[in-house]
Symmetry: C2
Amino acid sequence: MKLKTRVTHILKIEHPVVQAPMAGGPTTPELVAAVSNTGGLGSLGAAYLPPEILRQQVREIRHRTGGPFNVNLFVPSPFEADPERIERSGELLEPYRAELGIQDPEMPSSFEESFDDQLQVILEEKVPVFSFTFGVPGGEHLRRLRDADIITVGTATTVREGLRLEESGVDVVVAQGGEAGGHRGTFLGDFRDALIGTMALVPQMVDALSVPVIASGGIMDGRGLAAALVLGAEAAQMGTAFLTCEESGAHPVFKKAVLGAAEDETAVTLAFSGRAARGIKNRFLVEVGEYEEELPPFPVQNALTKDVRATAQRQGHPEFMSLWAGQAAQLASPATAAQIVEGVVDGAESALRRLAGSPT
Amino acid sequence: MKLKTRVTHILKIEHPVVQAPMAGGPTTPELVAAVSNTGGLGSLGAAYLPPEILRQQVREIRHRTGGPFNVNLFVPSPFEADPERIERSGELLEPYRAELGIQDPEMPSSFEESFDDQLQVILEEKVPVFSFTFGVPGGEHLRRLRDADIITVGTATTVREGLRLEESGVDVVVAQGGEAGGHRGTFLGDFRDALIGTMALVPQMVDALSVPVIASGGIMDGRGLAAALVLGAEAAQMGTAFLTCEESGAHPVFKKAVLGAAEDETAVTLAFSGRAARGIKNRFLVEVGEYEEELPPFPVQNALTKDVRATAQRQGHPEFMSLWAGQAAQLASPATAAQIVEGVVDGAESALRRLAGSPT
């Protein structure tokens, strides 16, 4: 059996398995290349990378694999850096800074990297696949990507968003179910309305769109890939499943938390970044989360909490780190990326064979 | 291909399809019998039925089918009928009563039916399958059900609840994903933590339990049944999929709302019953939902809102009805129950064959 779909054809991959981009460290060039070398699509979560680091990492991936790979960026939106909200955020962060020993926190010189400059690198380096989250790039950007023969993949949390992406001309849409770890891709309407479970979202998205759909959210193994495919998706994107693997750059303390997280121990929060994201509940998520109505929006809050998150990580202090993970985290494993890809494909094939081969 | 599992064996059904119990009207004896006559398991949502009506409906089902069927009850919990909360609820309901022309609302004589009396009917009538929600019946109740050779099915929204049900000796566990319409079965911890998407919940539940698992939440057609089975569930339970069918007792206005509901138009609310349930957003859900912290708990709020819901239904006024529905409501159809069961089974088989039969 070979699980071939329009997505494996478009992305030029052997298996319908996409390792999700995870910005902020987990998706090292080693991980991305290992997934691509095993016939899946590795993805670099590059949203927080300065353009020159992004370029270095793309080159390192190319050095490690001849296969296709994906780079993901966040589409910027206008935001307000309201001084009162920034001050309030500082008050809320003060006790955590004190506990971590952070003195004289500096105001960040900028709140986010330049999307235009990041995209320029992607165009110059002729990255094979470009995926994006939080919206739709402008028409001129999309035209330049098309002209460079770069495959585009958008992220939708509702059918309406999927249709908007299809209208813009993207090649493939990722349907992000409510189970997914990390940032919610929601860009139309309130994220609270757009927490649609993968089982419900995928068939509705598939029915509404002509372009192929990649399922994401709660998919951790071959059972999940098989389920995604029978629902009509043409590949599965998995983040948490790769977060704990050998090549992942996630901090050991983060990996340990993921492997031990029960299905009801995550929550969607604005506390860390000002934008909705699912992570394992810890002190920061719960305590700062109580005041999330008062926080500045993304990317402001994200920049403001950076010292807390980075220092907590250096100290191995999981209570103040953003422990992004999905609702099936405890199904993750510390295997290698290659073992995960192969296990997912074999597992999907045997799950499908087991049922299709039931006695007539 | 025949989709046979431990669940089809235990429940003595032809197809691994359970029509979900939906208390409050939709699950007429006609619907239950039609599903059972087509080889699925029909379920009577009997939680709000006085014992003698429950007995009549069980007898009517038996008159219409020789097949197995299920009756569902709500396991009672201690609750507080706090006079201040009851008064607050009355204040909040006042404008809706005025708009509907309800004069001099009466305080309900009781807040819920007697579970013991309802269960007595189930035992006396030797109902083939008994399912329950909101907890675990007492050991004595479970012993009497076992002695009467009645198959027991519990409802779990987390693995911890599934384990608790298995320890109590139930035969089968329904894993209720966050997509599901109607009341959340959560009985341990906060319902907000227990909105686990079906894609994530089912494999974790299957891995943890020895008894077979039925998947529910967001499953609307053959694609969903196939996905549930490859995830490791041994049947699918579908509510919203049957809500709009010909034999369903749901009000025409309710059916119309379900058929037109986009995936992001439902919400989980305490407003109607005091207990978390997913329904289509309408004025009552949104407006009263803003004060849900102040409402009395289930079953008190449920009894207090009964006149509003019933009058709204008589007047065909969807804004004040509890429009319980899941996150894939728009995949429902107005077919007959038999057509739905057959379409689901055929669809699952062809989804599985399509993939398993891909060229090697």
